[in-house]
Amino acid sequence: MKIIVLVKHVPDAQLDRHLSDEDNTTDRADSILSELDEYALEAALQLTEARGGAKAGNQVIALSMGPAGAVNAIKKSLQIGATEGVHLRDDALAGSDAAATSLALAAAVRHIGADGPVDLVLTGMASTDGETSLVPAQLAERLDLPQVTFASELEVDGGRVIARRDSDTHYDTVEATLPAVVSVTDQINEPRFPNFKGIIAAKRKTITTLTLAEIGVDPAEVGKTGSWTEVKTAAARPPRTAGTIITDEGDAGIKLVDFLAAQKLL
């Protein structure tokens, strides 16, 4: 089995995050592997381990598009257990929106598939920076593949992927033939941590760097020029300030209702 897992290097959501004043793009200092991508990586490892793992020729390829620092997301994926890494890195990619990102990633997936067909492209349910959830669906559209998104359970059986997908009102069972693009939620599994053996083993694994020229993408099709949306203005939201804080002296519930009444919220 050959699985590509999309991994993204994103600003740590536990810290304050910023947009650059210059061009409204995300400031990527203090970035880490997107937490939601760890679930996709774990799902890929479980699927391949059930088929004999790397020894049986299964591949889990961590693919990341991004500037130099993005290689850290790939390195962490290799430590966790991915068999190899691919870093799509080109200055022309900076500022790409979801449409341009999906175009470049689709070309990278085709390039990786040239030496043996890809069975699955696995992703997280969203990145924790852009949070749009657009890229998996747009990648599926560009590759003309079925998409099975927000999977909370996943199995592969006889050339088909079978998933459970939760919505607010019902649970669906969804099936598609391989190859497919699948995104998984944080309910699907418990991602493993890199252990000492994994960290040592990762040093021997290959990370291939690809440029746009190597995957046959015209730089004008990506980055800000190739994007179909433009951020015009960005303003930091004024921080919320604390209001009235009281300590319960046996009547705080009534004071709460008084507050709601005064705010016309009852």
């Binding site: 959501a13 536990q14 304050d16 995050r17 910023h18 947009l19 929106d97 979801a98 449409a99 920076d129 949070e131 749009t132 959830s133 657009l134 669906a137 747009q138 599926a140 559209e141 079925p146 998409q147 998104t149 927000f150 997908r165 939760d166 919505s167 607010d168 009102t169 019902h170 649970y171 669906d172 069972t173 099936e175 598609a176 033939t177 179909w228 949306t229 951020v231 015009k232 960005a234 303003a235 939201r237 300030t241 604390a242 209001g243 009235t244 804080i245 009281i246 300590t247 319960d248 705080a252 519930g253 009534i254 004071k255 709460l256 209702v257 507050f259 709601l260 009444a261 705010q263 009852l266």
Partner: protein, 317 residues
């Protein structure tokens, strides 16, 4: 006049408030057509007309609900062509965003999600990085596709009702070939409470409820509110994952958010800091949630919530 297409997936017996909001925004942008999927009853057609729709499109295929996303995007691309629309509005649900995503690629159109307001020139307002920035964005393409969050505008009928023409859009067989198929469906039990992302009031519980959501649910019911939860509470299995508010759960911007027994770590704040009014109840005076609460109570939620619930019932008589 610019033409706008609104997608309403399975309108059912009556239009949801979020659909009426989309129609209200659409009318401010231009002449409105609607694309629906699923059964279409006469009352819904009349309501669409009352909100200014001059045309209603239906798919030639009746089984789009048997597939995930792809075929609905293909149908909608046909409806965009038939209507001549330059702006497409969809709801900001998981499905809505993904249909928008695939539609955008089919049409070569820019997609903007999480929109809370649209100007007549198509400039969209949204907040990013978990509410820490507000931005304006615009598609640079001939057609723009926007997914709009609930509670963005007050729904309003048109000054003069239209009698929409109902038209069929041909869905090619190729739209369903190779798409992911839905082979089974199990309904979740309905809570009778408002939908979390659309609710005007949310009462949320966290680690501090210690397994007992009773007081949170009772206050929510007294207020007609939805129930939310922190990740700690959903991970502990005290309440379903659907209720999770935060970075990996749902983002809400209600008029009022009542946080009970939640410390207010960044992960949680990310899901609720655009609420108009925040109330926090927590035993720990050092909880970060008090830094952002408009009204904070240092106290035991098992005392404060039931007392508030009783008081609300008394006042509502």
């Amino acid at each position: 006049m610019a033409k706008v297409l609104v997608f309403i997936d399975n309108p059912g017996q009556a239009l949801k408030k979020s659909s009426l909001e989309l129609l209200t925004i659409a009318r401010s942008l231009g002449e409105t057509a609607v694309a629906v999927n699923g059964a279409l009853n006469d009352d819904v057609v009349a309501a669409l007309g009352a909100h200014g729709a001059t045309a209603v499109f239906r798919p030639s295929s009746e089984d789009l609900d048997a597939y995930l996303i792809g075929p609905k995007a293909a149908y909608l691309a046909g409806a965009v062509a038939a209507s001549g629309a330059t702006t497409v509005l969809l709801e900001n649900s998981f499905d809505g965003k993904e249909i928008a995503a695939r539609l955008g690629i089919k049409l070569g159109a820019g997609v903007i999600t999480d929109v809370v307001g649209v100007e007549p020139d198509g400039t969209a307002h949204k907040s990013v990085l978990a509410g820490s920035y507000t931005t304006t964005a615009k598609a640079t393409t001939a057609v723009s596709v926007l997914t709009v969050k609930p509670n963005s505008v007050t729904p309003d009928p048109a000054a003069a009702a239209a009698s929409p023409e109902v038209l069929t859009v041909d869905v090619p067989d190729s739209a369903t070939a190779g798409a992911a198929r839905i082979t089974g469906r199990k309904d979740k039990p309905a809570s009778g409470r408002p939908d979390l992302t659309e609710a005007r009031i949310v009462v949320a519980g966290g680690r501090g409820v210690d397994g007992d959501f009773g007081p949170v649910e009772e206050l929510a019911d007294a207020l007609g509110a939805a129930v939310g939860a922190s990740r700690a509470a959903t991970d502990a299995g005290w309440i379903g994952h659907d209720a999770q508010v935060g970075q990996t759960g749902k983002t809400v911007s209600p008029q009022l958010y009542i946080s009970a027994g939640i410390s207010g770590a960044i992960q949680q704040k990310a899901g609720m800091q655009t609420a108009k009014v925040i109330v926090a109840i927590n035993k720990d005076a050092e909880s970060p949630v008090f830094e952002i609460a408009d009204f904070g109570i240092i106290g035991d939620l098992f005392q404060v919530l039931p007392q508030a619930t009783e008081e609300i019932k008394k006042r509502k008589g």
